[in-house]
Amino acid sequence: MFQTFFGRFGKAFLGMLLAISVAAAIYGCVAQSFDGRPVSRNWSDGDTATSPGSFSQAPSNGVPVPSKIPFKDGRAMAGESALPSRDEELWVIEKPSSEAVPPLAGDDQQPGSGVLMATPPGEQTLTPVPLKHTDVKASVAGYIATVEVTQRFQNPYDGKIEAVYVFPLPHNAAVNEFVMTVGQRTIRGIIRQRQEAERIYNAAKSQGYVASLLTQERPNIFTQSVANVEPGKAIDISIRYFHTLAYVDGWYEFVFPMVVGPRFHPSGSSQGVGAVPRGQPGTSHQAAEVQYLRPSERSGHDISLSLHIAAGVKIEEVQTRTHQVSIKNTPAGQAEIVLDDKDSIPNRDFVLRYKVAGQAIKSCVMVQRDPKRRDGKSGYFTLMLYPPQSLADLPRKPLEMVFTIDVSGSQTGAPLAQEKTAVRYALTHMGPQDTFQVIRFGNTAEKLFANPVPANEQYVAQALRYVDALEAGGGTMLVDGVHASLLFPHDPKRLRFVAFMTDGFIGNDEEALREVHNCLDQSRIFSFGVGSSTNRYLLEGMARMGNGAAAFLGLHDDANEVMGKFFERISHPAMTDISVDFGTIGATEVFPQRLGDLFVGRPVTITGRYSGDGRQTIRVHGNIGNEAAIIEIPVDLNDASATRDGIAAVWARTKLADLADRSSYEAVGDLAGQIRQVALEYGLISSFTAFVAVDASAKTTGDHGTTVGVPAPVPEGVRYATTVIPNQQ
């Protein structure tokens, strides 16, 4: 009977069960794909989102990509305008081929404008970009700079866009103001916790509102995002910051960085700032990216800059070797400097130095009263502490010199030539009691000698030949260079000074700083930033952690002169073991918490809070050689001429930097919480806070458009082929 059943109906029954099984399996797989997780992922910060059912000109490679309607609450939002926000997923039916990098063509003008640009032979192709102009207005009072940067974003395409621009600011900039201008209306942005600011921005973007977001990737790298910029419309973003100027060998130095150099990332890292060719976002797999123009391309983005200096004393000389400027000296210790129109391509740092009258520059204090305290007897101060003149009269001890030279790909050409010139000078100016070592680093680190050798004629000649033969190429394993420079036995009869030469184009800055701190022992690190747009955050940090000083060797600087000043500096003993007695000022929360040595020509800036008034005396104690020394600094807290805006912001910024520094080598309890609290209290951008502004008065039509990264030129002197393309491998 059983056999009869299966015999008669078995096949039909089996076939039916088989069909049901297959159908269930298919439906189950499809249901899984419709739960919001993409089957194939084609999304990153730079990706597009388009109106349902349309083809988009994806900026990643110009290949049209049909987009899938997003899901919300488990239902397809077909025909609705609720488009995915930045942190939602967007799936595609077809994934564009990752190998399909289209050749440059006249119509490679994203996003799908179809504009053809005729380019005369030998000239660069003008590439439309959504950043039209940057205007910088700076003023300096004493050694505090107030800078306002206005970026004009203008949509040159025929569709709505989101513009994303990664750009640099000074690493010690206290950014505390953010204003968006839409047409005739000006909207002040709000500082918020970073995640909250990003959520607000994404919500506003997805709903069609004009919105802007400023986030910090590194202390000297920021990302500006502007959403829903309609065709032909302009949105201005103004950022204001304060910072202290450096004082270097008799000159005050004002620096405005203009472009982020292409960074190298060791394998396995993902939290860096990637360097990708224009039109290829997402290919570096780093948390943030800079798109770079090819050498044959140029953008219309230009920059204007004006600087007003109120030195308080007569200005003896003003110089800049990086740009063409006009300089007007007005009476009473002021000067007006304006960048020449013909020098407005933002592909190198603007560096201006000025010298003031008076041989004996004295330590001085500037204050800002706390507006929240009605008694007027408390506030914030900065103290620029100059080394005593007597340091220059004392002989130096024998040194163990280590010359560490970056020979990575970004140093190809002019930067390496500058390094060689500087090291040649140094090799021929050492003392007879000195010893030395030469180290090169790129993909690996290599020492010339097994151990440091005497600075005699034979070894110096050998080293000169070695340096002359150096060639650049490959990655930047800077941490290997740090280890090679520090991790060998210390000569107790000599001071080890490491002259570390690099542009600092790495993505693992914090690891490098941690290793400097951990490996330093009795050494001193003098970092030399070589190039037109160096990573000053890293270089100043290495000097700070390394208890030394930083110097910068631009492509147009005299390498012999810079190295000569370095030798002058190290040829005299420093004031060491420094402590500051603030007397009855009631100083608290003084930063940096750890003071480095005081070298000839290099003052140290200290900032803190005070409570008190009237005339006071600050005493700085230290050792010069084996002798105790004291510097006395008279202060008048009621002196109106010593009052400056922005000191509270500078203090808060310095506190944030100190927290971040310490976190690289010690466990700081709830670092994120501490940074967030200070940053929110003082309205400063930080790694855990961001500025956001939304114009809720009007909605733009259509979806939130295409995301377009603003590409930048590679810094002057840096070769595209050895820095941007290799990062894609």
């Binding site: 099984s21 189950g28 797989c29 249901a31 899984q32 899901f71 488990g74 204003v179 939304v694």
Partner: protein
């Protein structure tokens, strides 16, 4: 010698294979179905917990009936509803066109304190819009706003005793 007995299944060897295959497929299909439903349920649940937001604005007016307004400070809050300030604009009068400043400490303790002053000559008199506060509203509850005028003064720094503050709301939706 004992020969092993071959047991012949009722439907033959081929049918055994087919049975095994469809049982496997059936199992897979059921498993996928269950997982898919769970995923959809999970996605539905996470979507439900995400709070919807919308945007709008609140215009702030100050009435200075007898003295020209040179400076003001007011506190603004939502007594009902979850509201975030996402941008601050100035008002209609030229003297207060620039966006006012906000107290960062208050902003992050659930209060907004805005202030502005003008040293210009063209100071407004009477009913004037001094600021627009762009806001994000989260959830379905309709917010209820309050504003308290903390200070108002004329060009001589004299307090404007009869100044009053009022609000209107709007949105682009």
């Amino acid at each position: 010698m004992i020969r092993p007995t071959k047991y012949r299944l009722p439907c033959g060897r081929r049918s055994v294979v087919v049975v095994l295959v469809f049982c496997s497929l059936l199992s897979l299909g059921i498993a996928a179905l269950v997982h898919g439903q769970d995923s959809v349920r999970g996605q539905t649940e996470s979507a439900a917990t995400a709070v919807a937001s919308r945007f709008g604005w609140v215009d702030v007016y100050i009435d200075a009936p007898q003295q020209s307004l040179a400076a003001y400070q007011f506190e603004f809050a939502a007594e009902v509803g979850q509201v975030n300030v996402v941008g601050i604009e100035g008002g209609d009068a030229a003297a207060f066109k620039a966006p006012p400043y906000y107290d960062t400490h208050a902003m992050h303790h659930n209060r907004v304190i805005l202030a502005a002053f003008s040293t210009g000559a063209d100071l407004p008199l009477g009913h004037v819009r001094v600021a627009r506060v762009n806001i994000e509203i989260r959830g379905d509850v309709k917010p209820q706003y309050v504003a308290r005028l903390q200070a108002s003064a004329d060009a001589e720094g004299t307090t404007i005793s009869k100044a009053a503050i009022s609000l209107t709301e709007g949105s682009a939706q």
